[in-house]
Symmetry: D2
Subunit: 335 residues, 4 copies
């Protein structure tokens, strides 16, 4: 960490700062410039609060040299993390294909889709029981009943299930869920993240609409700091000025995340664009970029889907995508 001091810092304040830093176990190196002095801190700075230092009258700016996350950091865990989910896994050799409807609507619907996506190669079943909706007047999901239906579909097909939790108070309903999803709007719901840190279940953590890559990793760190190392990172589009697609898929986040962290990375091409006819293209693009899996909305009747219809594809389109992923993986794994 580097601290740039203002011109002619008040001596007593500087002494206080230095004593405090030494008290944190850090060494201080000085570098005097014409207009400013720079302090270089040596030691474990990951727990130093840069805001505190920036608040001092004598400080002009602070720059971290080391990342503020440890558990999620590849530097301290060079090998890729492989996370087991039921009989399958993510982050290793198996490419995760997570597919299913936006919302669970009925037993017939979820079981029929589960069978179809399994036949097409899905490794996990997704489906929303609790749905975050911008409008209080829109369909909010089946809740606990939806989770029951997902578990039936799991029993029927053997596919592990992925579903979103929206609040701490719902967690007890997730006892038999395989992967708990944290949605983009909850990426910085820190109470929820802390609680999930005490679980041992895999957590699929979606990047917030305005969250930087560094903030996504800090949210993963919240979960991991509690003891749960099973975090799956999900890029699902960020909010920009462009309106041709609902969000802007940040494909560069894939190599950046893979470099900074050992955690598996998946992409959600359905929510990124919000348009079903781009799902194939964006999936192929993500596979070529090196993701560990994709999460796709599939519905047997998108036009009747109770939410997010425009971004759902039909099972036959998913089957084509699934097949093309396998072909593409063979090619890109050869690079």
């Amino acid at each position: 960490m580097i601290i740039v001091l203002k011109e002619q810092p008040e001596a007593q304040q500087l002494q206080n700062l230095e004593e405090w830093l030494i008290g944190l176990g850090l060494e201080i190196h000085h570098s005097e410039g014409v207009h400013s002095t720079v302090l270089g801190l040596v030691g474990d700075t990951s727990r130093v609060d840069t805001d505190l230092i920036e608040a001092l009258d004598i400080v002009a700016s602070v720059k971290r040299i080391q990342e503020p996350y440890k558990n999620a950091n590849r530097k301290f865990h060079p090998m890729n993390s492989v996370i087991n989910v039921g009989d399958t896994s993510i982050g290793g050799d198996v490419f995760a294909k997570i597919a299913g409807p936006c919302s669970v609507e009925s037993e017939e619907q979820i079981i029929s889709i589960a069978k179809e996506v399994k036949a097409a190669g899905a490794t996990m079943l997704r489906g929303g029981a609790f749905k975050p909706r911008t409008s209080p007047y829109a369909f909010q999901g089946m809740g606990g009943d939806g989770i029951e239906l997902l578990l039936k579909a799991k029993k029927e097909t053997g596919l592990p299930i992925v579903t979103e939790v929206m609040d701490l108070s719902q967690l007890e309903l997730f006892a038999d869920v395989d992967v708990i999803q944290v949605g983009a709007r909850n990426m910085q719901n820190f109470q929820l993240l802390k609680e999930l840190g005490h679980s041992n279940k895999p957590i699929l953590l979606k990047r917030g609409l305005a969250a930087t890559i560094s903030e996504l990793l800090m949210s993963a760190e919240y979960i991991m700091a509690g003891g749960n190392e099973n975090v799956i990172l999900c890029e699902r589009g960020i909010r920009t000025f462009e309106t041709a697609t609902r969000n802007t898929l940040d494909i560069s986040a894939v190599p950046v995340l893979k470099e900074l962290s050992h955690l598996p990375v998946v992409i959600d091409p359905s929510h990124s664009a919000g348009i079903a006819r781009y799902v194939h293209t964006l999936t192929m693009s993500a596979v070529a970029a090196g993701v560990d899996g994709i999460m796709i909305e599939v519905h047997n009747d998108p036009a009747k889907a109770l939410c997010d219809g425009p971004q759902s594809i039909k099972p036959d389109a998913f089957a084509k995508i699934s097949k093309d992923i396998d072909t593409l993986l063979e090619t890109v794994r050869g690079f």
Copy 2:
């Protein structure tokens, strides 16, 4: 609402759509173009899910003519809402000056600041008990003890208190709090919003970093749909590409919100810029733009503040701001 159909829509699907719309109590007007047909819907469309319609194969796009919020909408409530908070209020003649530290740190600290800001003209006391922090290793607030200390400061000074809730499970601790704040990261924590809708306490709802003005109003609608009409809207900066300030204060949001909604609007100049020396300027700018109040971080020793130090001002700076607000209000209310 307007539905633009694709060229040559399949007849059966079109009939299904029209019957469904009529079933919702809407009238349909047709307008045939060379390349496309447009359906105009007449009636109450606020509860129509546009996503459902956009999902249909025969539909090219959908455009709302009326806003999807009703309770928050000035069209249906032309007069400004005045919200009572203890012996004071917001949204009417009283300009709300909400001041206090980022975090409650000790009894001595909060009571001393409370007295100082009251003497300087504050109408409410703010202070964080539960703190949302990007890093799991940063100070997270005193929790319930912090609320106790705020209540002591209220007893001492008579100032109503404003403090942030981070999760449903904390709500019981807020029984004696005057205004419950929902932070930017929780603006779309819909479970929390719903629960607050069943409260009768004023809610100060902060705009999310990537939330549109329309989404902010939809989140207010969540609370109001539950029966709680006491919502205060707070602009606190949005995330853009500019890095000279921590966030970009969207000053235009003030006239837009005042036009679209009858709810009071406040600005948080401390978090917008994240830099204490801009707080005076941004406050004056907001007062000239017509806000109903401001929320400012004040600390007796910003350099020792346990969080967000760089954006806190000292009590004497707040006293100057408070005085200048009064002078400025006299001028701008004459326009």
Copy 3:
């Protein structure tokens, strides 16, 4: 085009508007709602200035149904455009590999790089003679001498050359250049675009940092409206809040542009990320997304490059990318 009127529009103004629209050769369809009336316009609306209509007191909003561009529009030109460049082409079966240094620095440098990228499979040579630099104190390129050196490299290798024009006044120096590049900062330099419309040379038009896809197509339309149909669109990253990469590559722009327009689309993975080690990944991602070519910065000594060093790769890295593109193309063309 749809015009939403305000409630109770003034009758005389409405009559004026309708007469004016009819005078433009448009038919008007009416649709009366409870709170608003909607006019649907039928006919060629691409030359109607929506700003003019929105300015009217009686108008609430205007929505285009048809795109405001014609020449660039796939609807009126369903087949992909193939643009010939010397002995090669772009937009058809040949995948364009445009490679070369950020700046031309010397005869030895450009000829040596030209030979290396040709050997590695490049189909065109890029190199900057006029360089747009944020700082007036940074190296601004060799100018006309740089173009001379590019032409020598062309003579030596047979590779057509691509280089950027920064101002109308430089155009005469571009007489023997094969493809004229318009940089991101000049995407809306309309005088320049108009002049290029009178040329018959292929124009590589880069998307501006804050330009929407629709604006990029409107800039292409400027060139095409002048008679020059040889426009190549280039996505090179947009400006967002994310700072882990210099810009955010908008990969979704590829399928969107291919759908809306018949013009060839290339991606510049070097400027998108601004980081050399992500160039391979982003290139593969773009190929899988269906681009017609890529433009990559290659330098024999990136650390000594006079500009943009961090994003340049070495010739051997380009050779690997080139080979992997061919392998990947075989796979994705089979989908």
Copy 4:
């Protein structure tokens, strides 16, 4: 400037770097950490190209301590610059009120508006002769004839005129223009900026839609580096995800620019919001934020204006704004 080296930098490369830096007249201070070494550079680093250094294999990152602009920098010119324009000025005691139509349309129109805005207190007349329009099919301005008409209006009223240049080749037509405007889309048209640096006319430089404050100052530096110190900075809204206003007025840019630079700062409330009814509010907000002037679109018949009608106000609305500015200035100058 601070250079953070990667772990275990190659010795020869490090020596090369250090010799090169010393050759630039800089002193180097070392600071060794556990994982990285930091070099602190002392001396004039404003002409050091950080990109060059970042390109080196041994370098992890580079951080500037001093700003890369000198002429525009308040550190080297602590007093506000006052720029004379005809008989008036900007940056000192006189608050600049620049008003006039988006486009010059006819002699009658421009003279009548000029008289009205002068009577209402305008200090300069604005009007577009060359108009940057997104669509090639929209009205592009009267060109040289428009400038002639502006000069007639100047003769009639005595108001200095401000009008936009779009290209170098038009400059000779600007011989009698008082202030040359560089539009947002041309903020980084570096050839144009350089040429304007050789002029002695005041330049009104608008911030680009995606330009940071630092980039705006670097563009001012381009002009000033050529010898022309008469630069007026103009904030006119940036592009963000919010669509309720055409652009997002970055009001915080005012205090930031005033702190970093000695140049006068004006705001364009018409283009920021793109909506006439917000112009009064945003103007008051800008005056309270400390701008040196405002630039407002005024039209005698906004509904018939040939461009940008929705954002133009009528002369009587301008008269009210002008009067309210004076009242407000008296108040805020007392703070």
